[in-house]
Subunit: 367 residues, 4 copies
């Protein structure tokens, strides 16, 4: 397998100029594109239409290039859009390509391997439950195998796009006499993200399925995955799963590593994640180290108690700016100050993705 990763600047949610250039020059073969992860400049909350806008433009573009329908295109390529570029975060997309028939020419070194797949469609009453956790964990395990990642320690990032409840879906479940986890459609996003993250945690043996109760979801924050990044979208009823890790059979020029930020200003964890990805430095990385970084993927979240390093913050009491927006601004700023580049991927809403108030941070380097 040969995996390539491209980070491309965007001048707006509809801007695919840089992608077009690379496709036109032959650098990117549209048929090999398996995923696009975008940071778009909306508010990252309910009424953020920049995610949909960007997906719309990309789907139309690839649909033409692949000569496939809109629906087929969406099945072939995972479009994962995260809204919210607060602070100095620079809007961009990361394009992943995968060549399956590439022969291994490298040494024995472990290299970036990526595989994407899907769960079955969920019933509305399953969203945010232990049933969802179980189904997700099975698919994650399967994709790890397909990616030929030998050990769960070599998995460094699992991105999931998961469904949410709508009024229609709730009515559907209730008309069949079933109960849903919540009647609040906004909250259902949290439940779905949380259950998906716990599914990853089970697959990676971070927690055991036996110890998990339905009631732990969105409650017991000590249960989490250190490599999960999940986001909910209205357009699907299953989970789209993207597994990334390092594999001996990969022929990629890229490697991935990760760490877990304990809170939004955890400088140490950022340094650890860089080392985990393969950079070698004392104390702080140098320019030549930083040049090897392709992108950083992190989750930002406000602590449920609003306290950071024993200090009161106003994250949860600000009625003008949603706390996820504050959190993204900070986490992006702190990581940027280390890697010297504000164009990194920081996404909000991290239920069961890292500890309360913290989150996973994954790094891809080219070296």
């Amino acid at each position: 397998m040969d995996v390539k990763v491209y980070k491309l600047e965007m001048s707006g949610p509809e801007d695919i100029t840089n992608l077009e250039k690379l496709v036109n020059s032959g650098e990117i073969n549209p048929k090999e594109v398996i995923a696009v992860m975008g940071k778009t400049e909306g508010n990252g909350c309910v009424n953020d239409f920049t995610r949909g806008y960007c997906t719309e433009v990309l789907t139309n573009y690839f649909s033409k290039k692949l000569e496939k329908t809109y629906e087929e295109t969406k099945k072939q390529i995972a479009f994962i859009m995260s809204g919210g570029t607060e602070g100095v975060m620079s809007p961009h997309m990361t394009v992943f390509t995968q060549k399956l028939d590439s022969e291994k020419t490298n040494s024995d070194e472990k290299r970036l391997a990526v595989y994407s797949g899907y769960t079955r469609d969920f019933l509305p009453e399953e969203i945010g439950t232990k049933t969802m956790v179980e189904e997700v964990s099975e698919v994650v395990k399967e994709l790890i195998k397909k990616a030929e990642i030998e050990s769960i320690e070599d998995v460094h990032f699992v991105q999931i796009k998961c469904p949410l409840l709508t009024s229609e879906r709730i009515n559907d479940a209730e008309s069949r006499g079933k109960k849903v986890v919540t009647h609040d459609t906004y909250k259902s996003m949290g439940y779905s993200r949380g259950a998906s993250a716990l599914g990853i945690a089970v697959a990676l043996e971070e927690i055991s399925l036996e110890d998990l109760e339905d009631s732990d979801i969105l409650k017991d924050w000590s249960k989490y995955s250190a490599v999960a990044s999940t986001s909910a979208g209205v357009e699907l009823m299953n989970c789209e799963v993207l597994v990334m890790g390092n594999s001996k059979t990969s022929n990629s020029e890229y490697r991935i590593g990760h760490s877990v930020m304990k809170d939004a200003i955890d400088l140490e964890a950022i340094l650890e994640s860089l080392k985990n990805a393969g950079l070698e430095f004392e104390s702080l990385p140098k320019k030549e180290d930083l040049d090897k970084i392709v992108n950083v993927f992190a989750k930002a979240e406000s602590p449920s108690h609003g306290v950071v390093r024993n200090r009161r913050t106003t994250l949860l009491t600000d009625s003008d700016i949603n706390h996820t927006r504050h959190a993204r601004a900070v986490v992006n700023g702190v990581i940027s100050s280390v890697v010297g580049d504000p164009m990194i991927y920081v996404s909000g809403g991290g239920e069961h993705q890292g500890p309360d108030g913290g989150g996973p941070i994954s790094v891809i380097i080219k070296a």
Copy 2:
């Protein structure tokens, strides 16, 4: 001179509980208080009433303790309130006390010296002009002398509260046939802050008065002071000036240092400022170093072109959140990640205070 510095948590803009405790215990003598610098949890923009609220409560409190009128109290103590605690910034106040008759017992070491004073009242037509620059520079020079700071290299922080234009003041000037710098009262705040900062720059020989034109104000961003922090308020017509530096004649347990952040994510400058204040460490400070830090005072500002490290940001195109709010969240986050404490003072609106998009950072340590 003996100067002491106290950083006190606040649970809201009206919360002076921690101040009261220290006064009641005898640790703080109200008569020795010369300045209170607060970070209050408003939006830091036009309709931020948390600054006034906090000042109101403090003035009433000290008025009783000092047995002085409201107006006399305001003349005796500089109340400098900065609104906006975005990201993880923790609301707090820093109280400065000064004992003038303290005998020098220390060694020859330079120690924290603080002195406050006033310019004359400005005419509306002088606000934001070279005349203001000149008057401010004279007062700053005088206060440096009074503080017995031997060299301008030993000045590390100059805080100024300056006036702004209102409709009445503009009318007054024009009725006398005079021109004001702007008819936009909001913009006049920037002009006044900018001219005040340039006054500091002249006093500290960072720029020369001869080279400065009226038209450079809010235009030529290459002219700035590396230690200025200025804020505009409607309640005064003169400038309140607070000069801080290190002096051989000071008997304080505290020292101050500074550096200049080139942009909002300038990690290196933060480390420099800590070293400049007297902390000794390689690469990154350790816990025992950080324990010596009392507070950090920094200016946050969006670059006028919106670009950070050659990357497009959405700082200036976000119509939902003012760019100063984004900037404060980032700068506070980055500094917090180094010093391990989100309770630091980061203020917005840094015209001619550090370079375009950057700002001064001053650090007070107790050691």
Copy 3:
């Protein structure tokens, strides 16, 4: 009884200039002031400090004038601050004075009567429950009698300031083995407002206590009072109650009336409320009618389903602006367009105060 009502412009939450003028001129006797209702220019949500700021300034002012302590002053005068002056709403305060020994000189006509009082302190576990409803209803009934309002039909406005749950209060209840209605302190405000409003509804026989279950609170929106206006504050554990109606024994120059808006754009209900207060006009009021209006007091609320006149709105899906802010802008705008004055009192958060998405509207006229 002689009741007087003054509507005073404010240039900011701290501006009591117009009040001072009337006190200095002898028009207002501070000893006769029983309530001040203010519209202050914050966001009307969690971090709105303009309410506290205004209360602080007023309490200090009256404390001096009455030669009473801060606490005694707060007991004597009801300070009811409502934040949020969205749209064209103009910040102002309404001052109510009451002279008890005024002899009836008027004809038999019913005139404005106002009476204020308090419930007992509630235990944390009682807040938002049927126990609270019952206690509030008893006090409201008592105050109606004291105001000498002969019939419940003559009650047109009941304002209540009620307590909320804090972490400490929740812990207190739980340490005694008691359950509270919610662990979410923000939500507890809604429960407390809702139960208080239902207490008014019981007192005015709009609903019967027997038909009410604890579980109806914040659920069964068909149960409501048509004259209730309640707001929660952290500083008290009891309810401050202000009853307004018309009484034959009142000697006031003022009268009050009310109606209920079915939704935010219910023009007809506004016209009804004016007529109910005593204005006589066909179709639309004329200038001479409008001149008699002293102030209008209305509640604004987004419908729980987000739909207005069968049309989808974005009230509940806007993550940048809280729905209460949208609602206040609209209700104030619509009422202003009828009465020709944007300086009216529109307050948000109307649980069980009028029907879902609507709210009571009361009008005081001088005639």
Copy 4:
């Protein structure tokens, strides 16, 4: 000519379901569509991408239906998107169709006539100048003729989409030694909207070209058009003009009328506009009158002094919510309260479109 007007609900900026239904049923012939005016649910300010998203989806849809390229489609149909559905405004689109060969069968009555066209491309240095005013006025006059609207009194709505300045365009002008009206790209939108509106005013003889100076643009607010509605967009260098009025030669079932709101709460002007469109009622319209209304098109704007009916508002001092958002919430609310439907078109940014703080209101009825 036969003109038809359809108002269609949207569940999001990408929702064209209701349009598809009418096209599929044969009710709307895509070839006859000349304009779509949409209210989309963004913030209506700089970073509102809902306008572009909706235009993208519509252009792709019509491109397929018309079998034309993306660019040809954009030339054939005017897509006019206005962002911001504050308060209770309901997102929707209005589709205008025009059948030119329809024979006049009606009586002599004047009926709705619509015609669209273009100015030449402007040079950057012409944007916002008197040259632009003149060119716009010529095209408006021409379109009035083409629409066979006999008299300028019969013109009731002129919608223009106009260009703005970007950094590239400014550079282009300056490289040729030309001056642009402003270096602030955001402000250039106001200049372009203002000059376009004044072009309409000249064409309709509301002002005379001779009396107009370049310096009047964005300064002399007494010069305005009572029927102009203009919006700026980055994607064009000319003006797209849509003229609407009543003509004897039109065979439409629709009629149009207008009035001018003096301020955001001008109830009287709203009633006048309904009567001007042809509704006959005393005082307030009845249900059967309201049923005839197809849509209302109004401009909302904050007064430059922030004062409404002699009352201070916080429109211009709110740093959390842009004043255009407040203004739209109010104007939509007030009109909705009269017409009984919150699904109407209220757009912000009304330079020289109606008087300072007010704006034109046009009404289309089917009767």
